[in-house]
Amino acid sequence: MEDLAVKTGASKVAQSPAAGHNWPRNNGIDLDFGWVLDQRVNLSAAERRVATLPGRRTVKKDAQAAWLLKAVTCIDLTTLNGDDTTERVKRLCAKARQPVRQDLLDAMGMGGRGITTGAVCVYHRFVSTAVEALDGSGIPVAAVSTGFPAGLIPHDVKLREIEASVADGAKEIDIVITREHVLTGNWQALYDEMRDFRTACGDAHVKAILATGDLKTLRNVARASLVCMMAGADFIKTSTGKEGVNATLLVTLVMLRMIRAYQERTGLKVGYKPAGGISAAKDILNYQFLMKDELGREWLEPDLFRIGASSLLADIERQLEHHVTGAYSALNRHPIG
């Protein structure tokens, strides 16, 4: 059975390039304190929704292969390590261009679809390397910025870092918010900071990393999500990957509901990016189910959904080979990224 959202969304998204941005951009709105403070999230109720989801939704066989391939197109293939080098980044970019073996894509009838990852995500230092390595592929480069991951460098330095990455060709900037503003309830400061980041990004799209593992409560997550969207975030993103707890279905649920609430009020679609801790194919399917059921079909495409992950792709590749051949796969059968 197919639901309506599929039918209405299908034609529009079918034409979308892998990482295009086909929706009116969120230019933000004035900070609405009342709306921010009005947010309430019942932990137990949210947990229940998330706990029952895997029993309510699943995909099998061809459908599963298709969903996993779709997830590949949403991956921000990431390397954010102290030992990154230009050659390491180039290798990653090569994997981004050809994330799944061509013979497997052909076997699934997807050989001609130009499957690539959604983006490549690196530190500023490697933006130009990645831009060059991805030249002609249409794959955007995303740069983490603003003193990633803690975000505690001077504000003006953050803005200069954004501008430098944009100048080097980054099309997407993943900023980190100052967690202190959330933990102390200083929503004005959070809003102002985010507004400045957005302005500094210019045409580059900005993803606001909330570092939900630091914010602790779902109420904080809800409020921070809303303030960042009010200040013009194109995406809201869970984590840097460096906090103690990174992306979870629970914070995802809350952030998606905030995206929906923002859309209800403004008509604008804001994207979502879970990051960190998603390494198994079966895990990402649950995120996709939540995206589809809480937000709708459109949010399964890379212009509204990104996945910050480094090892997830390898597991998806194995699952896809299993789907094609019927035999369980091994990591060394797929090119390293």
């Binding site: 639901d3 019942n42 066989k61 589809k292």
Partner: protein, 794 residues
């Protein structure tokens, strides 16, 4: 469908759970099942069968034996024979059996889940993730009660042979709710599964037998309504436990009236789902999914009446409708659905008819534009908004995936709307303000209240309703008592009939006459003349006229009930306050002890010493309940969640008390004191032959700060006044002690509003025996346990 097409559409494909093993099990039985009696499958004596079908396709699943009188007799005989040895087993031995059943359920969990989904039509997700695990948990929990029975229920004995009739909406879970406590506590069982869904009960019987359960302990007799009636009316069954419709529950109450059968009824509901403007709206929307689209809404405690605070109603409805659009209805064995099939075409038709009526009465219909599978009994998730309280869909239980909705302005109005129903099963309250949520939870007339949650169940927390949602609890310590009876009552004998003395004519003389005293009725704190203005003589055993009392009639009862209803503040008075007043009554009675003793002696012919003993025992009994008033506490259940379930004993409300003929003072106090100690207000019909102790007593009440209307006294004919009380729809419970006919009448007429009854079937209680005549056995009957579930966390 191809990978490419799925990639473009991103739709969910089919995700079927395999049914191979389930089909093989059916095939092993050649698609035909007998009853399970005395440890073996047997065909019906009549050879008759009926069919059980697959709701998702309408196809035949199996032929099932149709139980007749002979089959029920055989099952009862087997259960009777097994009951003695089963009860005599040490608790630890029964605990081992129950534990084995729990483990057995877990080992065969998937088979049970698949058979259940096929036979009932509900999603495999629910049978697999909810029904079967909860059933296993129920057997584990009650294995524990079997283990602890000898110490925790030392003053109780098993009820005996139990007939259990269960519904089709949770065939396996209801089996567990019924069978686990019954067996754990030493009873044996004749279980009748619903005709639509007999398979998992038969599978369970087969597995239980393989797990070593002795023959005769559990018997399953399949059949239709008539088979159920045979069980209900069987003379050698000691207790009936029924879950099903209020309509059938009422019939069972009538048919078992006066038989001495203990009765548990878990009936229908129209449970409110209240959303305040400070709720987590998205959480509440998801709560609706679990409230009314769980099991296709075929849930007795379904949150079927959504009450939304006006200010947030538009947003709430918008989000709810959006959520409805993402619900998926599919085949029961599809693992990617939210709802599956309605149990049978007849039920589907009932839902369709009721919704059509609701729409005709002005409700706005909302159904999502989603696809339904073809062929079986399917109905889409449905929301009716703008429903007026006068509409049939607002009052009748639809038992389908249909939520009706209306708005409220204030918490007070929410409570009023929520409670304005004949039912009182469950309620759900959504607010992030703790004070508001708990205050509302406490005021809802419901046996179960979920705060910021819905449809949570656990073996440790009692489940059951108030009002016409039935009585008795299933689960937890409170549920155990439903399968036990006090040891101290075992020796009670039928009351000897006492002939009415012949009236001796009064012969006046010239001595100084005593001042004439007119005993009146006592209603709403005032002495009142009887409405009919007739009086009756009160005679000594020798026929001497001791005085006259009012001949109360139905209007006096009506007035007394009005007064008792008006005294509702008593139910929320502090327990300390109620304790003080009980002690004060004792104090004032003590000051007039000699007078009361003389009166008792004159009326009953008791010796001076015995009469004095009755008064002293009465004073002591008042002290007992003064003591209990602030000590009869609830429990904090610990179901498996981050939170608690508060089991709070609550007053029943207005309770009629028809006092036994004997012990005119002590009998009355033994019944009235536990009731008022727990916050009830009472309408008392004193001992019919000896009412003057009661009419003297109202002056004690007047001097003891008892608020007006808490105790009302109407003298007259016990049986006539009991009739009015039993059929009165604003009386919540009726305690009646006296003749067997009185018990029969009270139980029969109580079926109208399913009031709780406490009768003695003509068996006399020794009111001087503290074991038999006071304590928690009375307090439990004076209260209903309300379980308030409070998950927490931030």
């Amino acid at each position: 469908m191809t990978v490419a097409r799925y990639f473009d559409e991103m739709s969910y494909g089919p995700a079927p759970e395999a049914d191979t093993e389930a089909r093989q099990w059916l095939a092993r039985h050649k698609g035909e099942f007998g009853h399970f009696i005395n440890g073996a499958f047997v065909a019906s004596a009549s050879g008759k069968t009926f069919e059980t079908n697959e709701p998702a396709t309408g196809k035949l699943l199996a032929k099932i034996a149709l139980g007749g009188a002979k089959d029920v007799d055989d099952a009862v005989a087997a259960a009777r024979k097994a009951q003695g040895p089963w009860a005599k087993l040490p608790g630890h031995a029964r605990a081992r059996h129950l534990y084995a059943l729990a483990r057995m359920i877990q080992r065969h969990a998937r088979l049970i889940a698949v058979v259940e989904a096929i036979d009932n039509g509900k999603p495999i997700r629910e049978t697999r993730d909810i029904d079967v695990p909860l059933a296993a948990r129920h057997f584990y929990h009650h294995a524990g009660w079997a283990q602890l029975q000898e110490t925790e229920f030392a003053d109780q004995v098993p009820v005996g042979v139990v007939g259990q009739v269960i519904p089709w909406n949770f065939p396996f879970l209801m089996l567990a709710w019924k069978v686990a406590p019954a067996l754990a506590l030493g009873n044996t069982v004749i279980l009748k599964p619903a005709e639509f869904t007999p398979l998992t009960a038969l599978l369970f019987a087969e597995l239980a037998s393989a797990a070593g359960l002795p023959a005769g302990v559990l018997n399953v007799v399949t059949g239709e309504g008539e088979t159920g009636a045979l069980i209900v009316e069987h003379a050698d069954i000691d207790k009936i436990a029924f879950t099903g419709s209020t309509e059938v529950g009422r019939l069972i109450r009538e048919r078992t009236a006066g038989t001495g059968k203990s009765l548990t009824l878990e009936l229908g509901g129209k449970s409110p789902f209240i959303v305040f403007d400070d709720a987590d709206i998205d959480g509440a929307v998801e709560g609706v999914v679990d409230a009314i689209w769980f099991n296709q809404g075929q849930v007795c405690c379904a949150g079927s009446r959504i009450l939304v605070q006006e200010g947030v109603a538009p947003l709430f409805y918008e989000r709810l409708k959006r959520r409805m659009q993402t619900l998926r209805v599919g085949h029961p064995l599809d693992k990617a659905i939210d709802m599956a099939a309605i149990v049978a075409p007849v039920q589907l038709q009932r839902i369709e008819n009721l919704v059509a009526k609701g729409v005709a009465e002005g409700a706005a219909l909302h159904q999502p534009t989603i696809e339904l599978p073809k062929g079986g009994s399917f109905y889409p998730p449905t929301l009716l908004t703008g429903v007026q309280p006068t509409s049939i869909v607002a009052t009748e239980e639809i038992f389908g995936p249909v939520a009706v909705s209306m708005t409220f302005r204030t918490p007070e109005e929410a409570i009023q709307l929520a409670n304005h129903t004949r039912y009182g099963l469950a309620a759900s309250v959504w607010s992030e303000t703790i004070g508001l949520a708990l205050n509302v939870a406490a005021k809802l007339a419901a046996g179960v209240v979920w705060v910021n949650a819905t449809n949570l169940f656990d073996a440790s927390a009692g489940f059951g309703g108030k009002r016409e949602s039935g009585f008795g609890r299933e689960g937890g310590r409170e549920g155990c008592y439903e399968y036990l009876k006090p040891k101290a009552w075992l020796g009670r004998k039928l009351r000897a009939a006492v002939a009415e003395p012949a009236l001796k004519p009064v012969v006046g003389d010239f001595a100084m006459p005593s001042v004439d005293r007119t005993a009146k009725l006592f209603i709403g704190g005032k002495q009142a003349r009887p409405d009919g203005n007739y009086n009756r003589n009160v005679l000594s055993p020798k026929g001497k006229v001791l005085g006259e009392v009012g001949e109360g009639n139905r209007k006096d009862i009506r007035n007394a009930v009005v007064a008792a209803q008006a005294a509702s503040a008593w139910s929320s008075a502090t327990t300390h306050n109620r304790a003080q007043i009980l002690y004060y009554i004792a104090e004032n009675l003590s000051g007039r002890a000699d007078e009361f003793a003389d009166r008792i002696a004159a009326m009953t012919g008791a010796s001076a010493a015995n009469a004095k003993a009755e008064v002293e025992a009465s004073i002591a009994r008042l002290f007992t309940y003064g003591a209990w008033a602030d000590k009869y506490e609830g429990a904090i259940h610990q179901p498996p969640l981050r939170g608690v379930a508060l089991a709070m004993p609550e007053a029943l409300g207005v309770v009629g008390v028809v006092c036994p003929p004997e012990a005119p003072l002590l009998g009355m106090i033994s019944l009235v004191a536990p009731l008022i100690a727990t916050g009830n207000r009472v309408v008392v019909v004193p001992s019919e032959p000896h009412p003057l102790a009661a009419t003297d007593f109202y002056t004690v009440l007047e001097t003891s700060d008892v608020p007006a209307g808490v105790v009302n006294i109407v003298t007259g004919s016990a049986i006539e006044l009991a009739k009015t009380l039993a059929s009165h729809n604003d009386v919540d419970a009726l305690w009646a002690f006296g003749t067997p006919e009185l018990s029969t009448l009270v139980e029969k007429l109580s079926a109208g509003n399913l009031k709780r009854t406490f009768v003695d079937y003509g068996k006399a209680t020794n009111w001087l025996d503290r074991e038999a005549a006071e304590g928690p056995a009375y307090l439990r009957r004076a209260t209903d346990v309300k379980n308030i579930w409070i998950p927490y966390g931030e």
